[in-house]
């Protein structure tokens, strides 16, 4: 009888130990899942400074096509105009915008230089210009789309970026129960993306911080290795030129796309950075005949510092920027970042970063990223935060 009791007690202890082990394993699995995907914190976009007015008259420029694919650009522009009107903003009619553009021979719709800033203000009565860039448009199943938009103030020879946000979405981002959440229609996905950006702009104009849809998985997209010079002062507000990245990837326009990611992320930190409108930078590149051979040289940097009254140049090199077609695949992004400071005339930041959409994903594709846009955005955010904090 006593032997039987001892046996039962031993069995009971074994069972308890196994249960504890099971609980520990489950807790670890949950923790890993949280690290891989659930820990995604939201990204916030700052509001438009009150000094620029809450409801300016807006010019919606034709969409800049960085996707190099056949995309419904007119539809996207129209969709933006409709959304802005619904939000109660006054939008300058398309024909008036076209006339001003034709009068000033404006061909680049990816930025606003000093001349066009004054022209839109005086000739179209606009207080701001909405610049939209289409980074990715893939209508095949599942559709994928990446859009970046920014609002730039007009009326001065130094147009200021008031708001900037972006979104990268795929039809199968949230499949839901029985795949009912999959978006198969590219038009619906486009409406969703435009709706998000219009909502973000509305929040910014209303003086609210926008809860963005970008994700930042803590530490997941930290640069592989970085150098931060002690000369980079976290307490100082830098005027930053973000120059187009030198592109050696197979994706045309990857250099300009990376530039936009950095402009957007730097704009989120107004306390630390004043970002110069890319249209002004492009104008200076053309004026000074700057051709980047293998990246930016100190001579080029000097010209930009003096002409744009900047004290930091952020640029880099894109080695890889790939999206994929179809439901199965893995986007990849690989780039280097470099920052040159005016006073010291030295490289004050250098980092290299590469990642794929499945980086840090361990269980059931939880946390997988389906567009290079979202990944590059998170990587750029990580670089900017490290630049500030070290």
């Amino acid at each position: 009888m006593a032997a039987c009791r001892r046996l039962l007690a031993a069995r009971y202890r074994l069972l308890v130990t196994r249960c504890r082990l099971l609980v520990i394993c489950l807790a670890m699995a949950c923790l890993a899942a949280a690290v891989s995907g659930c820990a995604a914190s939201s990204v916030r976009t700052p509001p438009v400074p009150a000094s620029y007015g809450r409801r300016p008259v807006v010019v919606v420029l034709p969409v800049q096509n960085l996707s190099r694919t056949d995309a419904p650009l007119k539809g996207i522009r129209q969709s933006f105009e409709d959304r802005l009107r619904k939000l109660g903003l006054r939008v300058v009619p398309e024909d008036v915008v076209e006339q001003v553009m034709a009068r000033h021979r404006m061909r680049d719709v990816g930025g606003l230089n000093a001349e066009m800033s004054l022209a839109f203000s005086k000739e179209a009565g606009a207080g701001a210009v909405l610049i939209t860039s289409l980074e990715l448009y893939d209508p095949t199943y599942p559709p994928k789309l990446a859009l970046t938009a920014r609002l730039v103030a007009t009326g001065s020879d130094e147009p200021e970026i008031l708001w900037m946000d972006s979104t990268g979405v795929s039809g199968d981002d949230k499949p839901g129960l029985l795949d009912l959440g999959i978006v198969r229609d590219p038009g619906r996905l486009l409406e969703k993306a435009v709706g998000y950006l219009a909502g973000s702009l509305d929040d910014a104009l209303s003086g609210r911080w926008t809860k963005g849809n970008g994700v930042l998985m803590a530490g997941r997209f930290k640069p592989n290795r970085f150098f931060r010079s002690p000369l980079l002062d976290p307490g100082r507000r830098y005027t930053v030129v973000v120059a187009p990245f030198y592109n050696v990837s197979h994706r045309s326009e990857a250099g300009n796309i990376m530039m936009l990611h950095f402009v957007e992320e730097l704009c989120r930190h107004r306390r630390h950075f004043r970002v110069i409108e890319p249209g002004l930078i492009r104008h200076e590149f053309l004026n000074e005949r700057i051709i980047m051979n293998d990246g930016i040289s100190f001579a080029n940097a000097d010209a930009l510092f003096s002409q744009l009254r900047a004290d930091l140049i952020v640029t880099g090199k894109v080695l890889d920027y790939q999206d994929y077609k179809g439901p199965d695949g893995n986007p990849s992004v690989d780039f280097d970042t470099l920052a040159i400071e005016d006073n010291s005339h030295e490289v004050v930041w250098s980092s290299s970063d590469s990642a794929t959409g499945k980086k840090g994903v361990y269980f059931f594709d939880r946390g997988r990223i389906s567009t290079a846009h979202r990944m590059a955005s998170a990587m750029a955010r990580s670089v900017v935060e490290l630049m500030i904090k070290g």
């Binding site: 290795r225 980047m292 051979n293 930016i296 040289s297 090199k317 080695l319 890889d320 280097d336 250098s350």
Partner: protein, 188 residues
């Protein structure tokens, strides 16, 4: 029995001799490496089929050297400008005279040249893996002579891979390892 033990011992020694010796290093004993503050990394010679290999390794080396805080590395754009001004014919293998001229233009204390011998996937039978093999040289600015040279190989197919298979390490990871090994040899 004694003979068998000797044969086994000899086989083990031969096996380890084969595994070791993957890297070589040369340091000029007369050179004061502490005097080198600014370094220019030249475009590397690429002997592999991957067109981007040289660019990737160069960038990783540049960041890693800067991250040590021991030397300052000139940006690649400034190097390209210096090469154009100095009229260097073959940037991956410059002549000593060209090194001197180039360094005087960009104000560098030394230049690093390199060769990427292997980069990418290797296959043997059913087993595949990733491999990188790099060799670097440092030439000082005053005389243009070689003061340091080293090579490193990372990755490749191991006995473990052959027996049990398993995924190859990503190229980025083994590139970083090879570069770390080279930097360790530079500061050794």
């Amino acid at each position: 029995m004694a003979n068998l033990k000797r044969i086994i011992l000899l086989a083990v020694v031969v096996m380890f001799a084969g595994c070791g010796g993957r890297a070589a290093v040369y340091h000029d004993k007369n050179m004061d490496f502490g005097s080198i503050h600014t370094v220019a990394i030249m475009p590397f010679m690429n002997l592999t089929t991957d067109a981007g290999a040289a660019e990737r390794v160069r960038d990783v080396l540049s960041d890693s050297l800067l991250a040590t805080g021991a030397v300052y590395v000139l940006p690649s754009g400034e190097v390209a400008r210096g090469l154009a001004r100095a009229g260097v014919n073959s940037p991956s293998e410059p002549a000593p005279a060209e090194v001197k001229t180039f360094c005087s233009f960009v104000k560098a204390d030394a230049v690093i040249t390199g060769v990427i011998r292997e980069y990418g996937e290797v296959r043997s039978g059913n087993t595949s893996s990733t491999i990188i093999s790099v060799s670097l040289q440092m030439m000082e600015a005053q005389s243009g002579r070689i003061v340091w040279s080293a090579s490193a190989t990372e990755g490749g197919i191991t006995i473990w891979d052959r027996l049990f298979g398993g995924g190859a390490e990503p190229m980025n990871a083994i590139t970083q390892k090879a570069v770390d090994e080279l930097i360790k040899k530079l500061f050794a």
